[in-house]
Point group: C2
Chain length 244, copies 2
DNA sequence: CGAGCATTTGAGTCTCCTCAACCCGGGTGG
DNA sequence: CCACCCGGGTTGAGGAGACTCAAATGCTCG
């Protein structure tokens, strides 16, 4: 996966939120530390009190929670150009962790400086808020996915989301780099890895997808969308703030 | 359930977000329409383009989505003093609906005026953002709940959340007014109403709860918490914005 | 070439679902 | 004033989807 610079990462983030390059100038000037987190390492730890806010520049990551009997639930995936812990800028203690799926490159901005800047720049704060609103929409769809769809639909839906969100990094033919394990898919869909495996095999045998070696290819997009009951409205991709 | 005035509703909202009464003065001055929505009526309709933002003043409501084969999933409950569609202030089209559980009293603020005000008052925008962040935390916990807990734990967790959130409206002994049907509980926990019924009976027979006639009484809080793996950190109740 | 992780397969089990009927209380109309 | 009607709650029986446990296979990296 690509590796962005801090400026490129911010630019990608800004584009998604319909900010102009000028709007993010003040963010560019913020102090920031470039960090690397190895695969399986924690970017954010549950229970800790964060001091910074991390923009993902390379690699991919996911949010997870662990329940009392040890099971894990993944609640979201993150890719370059996304803040992985925007909530840290206002919430005092992490209620969940963020873990690296692959080696990750991050730009960490001190939350104090960021907060002070946003206070001065309502347009940027609005963008951060919008980002959070879109992420909340994503969580809502995931509640629906694990709550009301069967294994096959859950899996198809997740793959659809990944295909759409990673399209911008791919060659455009719904052939995406996606270094995910079946266990992670299981944790994201609320299933066991065994059942995930059998469900994947089902979709494979029908010729709908290929999924191996860190690559997902969707061969029949309309069919996969139909199986997953996928409506990309919830991603709010081309959404924009209303003119005031 | 109580019926608040616009000012009281805002005050309740502000208190949760650690704003002072002074901070919300500008909001009080906004134009607003008081509306009533009957039980089962829609406060927000999926697919529509909203023009206002609704603050709940009386009654209770829930967010829901419908999947293609007709099943419903409830993603959150809302009570007086909460905005039910904060996302409408920035997102252009509703990706889900909000429905009244009981007759609801609402104050609807035009989104243009609200947006203009927030642009002038960074402190208020920050509070709205914080509100959204907390709600996102709630959705995350729900993903975990429906994804990784069994029927008993799911139900217990939901009841714990309701007990904590409605405590402020109750007489303080975890005896709360909660006019919810078993079908709604089923839609919130991702189960069928039949299985919900049997699971409730299980908790009742063990003497942990009473749930009937629109009233929930938790007889054994520690036990219910343990069964539901409930950790109220995700509600971020006493959370506050960091000093900048 | 072996170690370690990820994937695959099999068999048996259990939770939760489906379908269907019945009960109960409250509101309504004859 | 009582019959009925309706929504919500309860019960039963049978089935299916997903889980558990266990082992084998394959892949990748050192």
């Amino acid at each position: 996966m690509i590796e962005l610079s801090y400026a490129e990462g911010l630019a990608r983030w800004a584009r998604r939120l319909e900010l102009s390059p000028d709007d993010i100038q003040p963010l560019l000037a913020l102090p920031h530390a470039i960090q690397t987190v190895e695969r399986d390492g924690f970017i954010v730890r549950e229970g800790e009190r964060p001091t910074g806010c991390a923009l993902l520049l390379g690699g991919s990551a996911f949010r997870l929670k662990v329940v009392n009997h040890g099971a894990r639930q993944i609640m979201a995936f993150h890719f370059p150009g996304e803040f992985v812990d925007l909530q840290n800028s206002l919430l005092s203690v992490n209620d969940h962790g963020v873990q690296a799926m692959t080696r990750c490159k991050l730009a960490v901005v001190p939350k104090k400086e960021l907060a002070a800047l946003l206070e001065r720049e309502p347009g940027l704060m609005r963008a951060m808020w919008l980002d959070t609103l879109i992420e909340a929409a994503l969580f809502r769809e995931w509640v629906v996915n694990v709550g009301r769809r069967n294994a096959r639909a859950r899996l198809a839906h997740l793959l659809c989301e990944l295909a759409v969100r990673l399209e911008e990094f791919s060659r455009g033919d719904r052939n995406i780099e996606m270094p995910i394990t079946q266990e992670q898919i299981a944790d994201a869909t609320g299933m066991t890895s065994v059942h995930t495996n059998r469900t994947i095999q089902g979709l494979r045998k029908e010729g709908l997808i290929s999924l191996s070696g860190g690559r997902l290819v969707v061969h029949d997009w309309p069919a996969l969308k139909a199986i997953g009951d996928f409506n990309e409205l919830y991603l709010h991709r081309a959404d924009k703030a209303p003119e005031v």
